[in-house]
């Protein structure tokens, strides 16, 4: 019984005319799904607390306070330094974990809200009973995260509403826990952070499965099309629309309007950030300009005739920047109204005229379909009056630089701007232009310049950006058959790991480093996944044959594949793949059986997340979802500003005991994986960490020897010598890479190494298994 769902298109009654009336009774049911419900369907914030505490006992929080104070209530400000408690009794550690929870709640709420809007829009577009189909015949296990967490198997768009109700309820509870006088124990806060992350992953999966199903995105397709990325891809002769953000309905409406009105190919639809990826999933003719950090440079170029913004990661000053460049803006999200007048209910003709004539600089339009029409028509009319990009006299402007250095002190990447600006002032613009490659596009250099030099603008003007790169658009889910093929080698360790490069573009030294890491690990036959801005960064790098990683490596989820799953919300498919390994390969029950599956993933699936430029609260929530599954995450140096790490102590042997299910004995397995959340200082250090963090207790000797060979090689490249912790990772002599046995054995013996068994590892008591 699926409940009752009544839909009345239109009915006239004495009380008036009713349109689009929908009545649903009952909730999403199990259909023909006969799998027994596990112990924790739709878990509350405390239902998985015991699992969290097992993880947090190994990976104890290391707090890095950004502030000594608590300012959240009127008792404050309270100084929490030096062991002092606040007026409410809170400690500094609890306050840090509380702020981490707030960030995770913001992230999870953002994705849940995103999913809610998307599902509502798609139900309006396609109907409540529209079937969910993220992968056609290739995907039988459609929503592994939802099945695992909620114990539900949604079949239609309407079924997703019940899942979102659960998410929303949990986020409210978690947020409430941060109120003064509630939670005060740091570990309980941290447990709730993990809960927020898990809920975030549920919301991600809802959003992406809904849009893949209803908008005809590639469905688990390893051959998803290669699309253009870069400012050079844009035909500047045509009218150009720019869409910025994450929630794709307005961009889809633009593409659909073009198709419906026979204008396809006559207007360039360009995008920045995740909306850009998602609109290329709808139509490969759309162009990805670049990641989040390209907003200023692209708008200032004057190329777009019109800017459409939806939600998330949109610059707060985008309207002002666009106005300065003479570009009108349409805001389309209730979460990002930008102070603009709501003109949703006015006729399209009126809106087009207002934008095309320059009568207004912007408007709020909350109807995506109307945005599609208005944006296209207005851009076409504005093209003839486009203000050509201003031809800057770089040398004259740069020559005002006094060399005070305030720009470099404001720069997140600590770029040596003054020397480059002064060189540009002498007419030597090459160094300044080259800096654009590592610029995060924040514009802080301009904010602090006492001479009023627009440093970022000069940098962009000094760099002729005309390159076009090929990026494979988001393929969505991983096929069941792919999981069957790689599940065994991954769990045995013979594929050395899954590495997922995800997240934003706050890189310490440019996106080039992401591209280099992607290439390195693909060459080493890891399964490499990408998403969001990192998927774009990975494309902006060519090998000696001029190929980007997406052209060079296959898009299959296989050893040596480079798999772009899609936008931020498509990160669900990376977590989903790990869960699918437990289900499809190992036949573990999923339904409401979170702890057993997380224990499986943690002990057997060598997956590592890398968010090299993580910036947002959403990234924090995504990371937390991976942590609860036991998947470690490496961030770049800016990631330390998330205020705490989750670090293991490899030198504390007692921390690394597991229960051997074969013998029921406690067995030492070494620090695998050593950390759950760690900031790396450099790319080289990150690569050595990734190789190490991919080790798992379950690795066979053959698998461990493969993983060790990568670890040793990358460690030596970074540190110039042998790792000093090898004895902790070698269980038997058979674990040693064959070619290095003679070299390594004496090192092990020097550390008092003795052989130890390879267990059937678990952190759980036997009664936890279904």
């Amino acid at each position: 019984m699926k409940g009752i769902d009544i839909h009345i298109g239109e009915i006239a009654s004495p009380l008036g005319r009713v349109r689009e009336l929908r009545v649903g009774i009952g909730r999403v049911g199990s259909g023909t799904w006969d799998e027994p419900v596990g112990p924790t369907p739709c878990p509350s914030p405390t239902a998985l607390r015991d699992w969290d505490r097992r993880l947090l006992a190994r990976y104890r929080p290391f707090y890095l306070p950004l502030c000594d104070l608590c300012c959240l209530c009127t008792y404050g400000k309270c100084d929490l330094s030096g062991g002092k408690r606040g007026a409410c009794g809170i400690t500094l550690a609890a306050q840090q974990s509380r702020v981490v929870l707030l960030a995770a709640c913001i992230g999870a709420a953002t994705h849940a809200s995103h999913a809610r809007e998307l599902v509502g829009h798609l139900i309006g577009r396609c109907g409540r009973q529209f079937p969910l189909d993220p992968g056609g015949l290739a995907v039988d296990l459609r929503m592994p995260i939802v099945e695992l967490v909620c114990g539900l198997r949604p079949e239609t768009l309407a079924d997703l509403e019940a899942v979102l109700e659960y998410c929303e309820g949990e986020i409210v509870h978690l947020l409430a826990a941060t109120h003064t006088g509630q939670e005060a124990d740091p570990i309980d806060f941290e447990s709730k952070v993990l809960h927020a992350g898990m809920i975030d992953h549920v919301a991600l999966e809802v959003a992406d499965v809904a849009q893949v199903s209803a908008l005809d995105f590639p469905k688990a397709d390893p051959e998803a099309p290669l699309v253009d990325l870069g400012m050079g891809a844009i035909d500047r002769e045509k009218p150009v629309v720019l869409v910025v953000g994450h929630n794709v309905p307005p961009a889809v409406a633009i593409l659909d309007y073009l198709a419906a009105s026979g204008l396809e190919g006559t207007v360039e639809v360009t995008g920045i950030c995740c909306t850009a990826i998602d609109m290329t999933r709808r139509s490969p003719s759309a162009k990805i300009v670049g990641p989040i950090s390209w907003q200023l440079r692209y708008i200032r170029s004057g190329i777009p005739d019109l800017v459409v913004v939806d939600e998330q990661c949109v610059r707060a000053d985008i309207f002002d920047e666009a106005a300065s460049a003479g570009i009108p803006v349409i805001a389309t999200s209730a979460k990002n109204c930008m102070g603009l007048p709501d003109r949703t209910n006015e006729p399209a003709d009126v809106l087009v005229e207002a934008l095309a004539t320059g009568a207004v600089n912007g408007m709020l339009v909350l109807d995506p379909e109307k945005v599609g029409e208005v944006a296209v028509r207005a851009a076409v009319l504005r093209r003839p009056i486009r203000q050509a990009g201003i031809d800057l006299d770089i040398a004259a402007l740069a020559s005002a630089c006094s060399g005070c250095g305030r720009c470099v002190r404001a720069c997140p990447t600590e770029a040596d701007l003054p020397d480059a600006v002064r060189a540009a002032g002498r007419g030597e613009t090459e160094a300044l232009g080259a800096m654009l490659a590592s610029c995060v596009g924040c514009g802080r250099c301009e904010e602090v310049c006492p001479q009023g030099i627009e440093v970022h603008r000069l940098m962009a003007a000094a760099c002729d950006e005309c390159e076009v790169f090929a990026v494979r658009t988001g393929r969505g889910a991983i096929q069941d058959v792919e999981i069957r093929e790689v599940g065994g080698p991954i769990v045995l360790g013979e594929i050395p790991g899954i590495v997922a490069f995800v997240g934003c573009a706050n890189y310490p030294d440019g996106g080039r480093e992401v591209a280099e890491m992607v290439t390195e690990f693909a060459k080493r036959r890891f399964v490499v996944c990408t998403s969001g801005c990192s998927a774009m960064a990975a494309a902006m790098h060519r090998d000696e044959e001029g190929l980007t990683p997406y052209e060079r490596f296959s898009g299959r989820f296989e050893a040596g594949g480079v798999v772009n799953v899609g936008s931020c919300v498509a990160n669900a498919h990376i977590a989903g793949a790990a869960i699918k390994i437990a289900s499809i390969f190992a036949k573990r029950r999923l339904r409401g059986n979170y702890v057993e599956v997380a224990d499986y993933v943690y002990n057997r699936v060598g997956a590592v997340g890398v968010a090299w430029g993580a910036m947002s609260q959403k990234a924090a929530a995504i990371a937390a979802g991976f942590w609860r599954l036991g998947i470690p995450v490496v961030v770049g140096p800016h990631g330390a500003k998330y205020r705490r790490m989750l670090l293991g102590r490899q030198d504390c042997d007692e921390d690394w005991m597991v229960r051997d299910r074969r013998t029921d004995e406690e067995v030492y397995v070494g620090p695998v994986p050593e950390h759950l959340f760690i900031a790396a200082e450099t790319k080289e250090e990150a690569m050595a960490l990734i190789a190490k963090l991919a080790m798992r207790p379950n690795d066979t000797s053959r698998g461990r020897s493969i993983k060790l060979s990568h670890y040793i090689d990358l460690y030596r490249r970074c540190y110039g010598r042998m790792p000093d912790d090898l004895h902790r990772f070698v269980r038997t002599k058979a674990d040693l890479p064959v070619m290095q046995k003679d070299e390594l054995l004496p090192l092990l013996e020097r550390n008092g190494w003795t052989e130890r068994p390879i267990p059937d590892p678990t952190l759980l008591p036997e009664e936890a298994f279904q």
């Binding site: 104070l69 330094s81 140096p637 330390a640 670090l647 960490l689 970074c718």
Partner: protein, 181 residues
Amino acid sequence: MSRTEPWQPAMQGGTVTAPAIEKPAALAALLRRARRPLLVIGHRTLVIGGDGERAIDLLARAAQKAQIPVAATGDTGPALMARGIEPAVCISAMNLANRLVDPTFAGVDGKGPHDIVFVAGLAYALEWTLLSGLRHGAPHLVTVSLSPAYEPHASFSLPNLAWPAWRSLIAGAFGLEEATA
């Protein structure tokens, strides 16, 4: 610029901020006081420099002269070895800091807990957060930032210094003047 405002001005410190070490003698006094010092050398020491010299050149000589065990973070290990320094440990800075908060940690060389940790050349924000973590989590430690950018969370920090002034201060404190003259 003020010599003791955070080098990245928005990165304001806590309720207590580091006294600035303005003179070589003050740093030399800290060195003399240290019973179990540790010098952490990060990757920006490969970048910071002037006149054909890098910060890592000077710090390698300083470590040698003062016989301080070195922790190489980032990818400074090979550069240190090329300068004749065998790091006591090559380790990620965050991983090291997490061990230092444990008062029973036997030190990077296993010879006992450290009492003073000198840090130089991490990315500014990374050093800032790491020193904050040590300030709150490791009250048993004295931390000293030797970077040329003022770090408010250290127990003591060099002020914001241009290369020649930084070079002079380090060389003076470690007694490298004769060798570099």
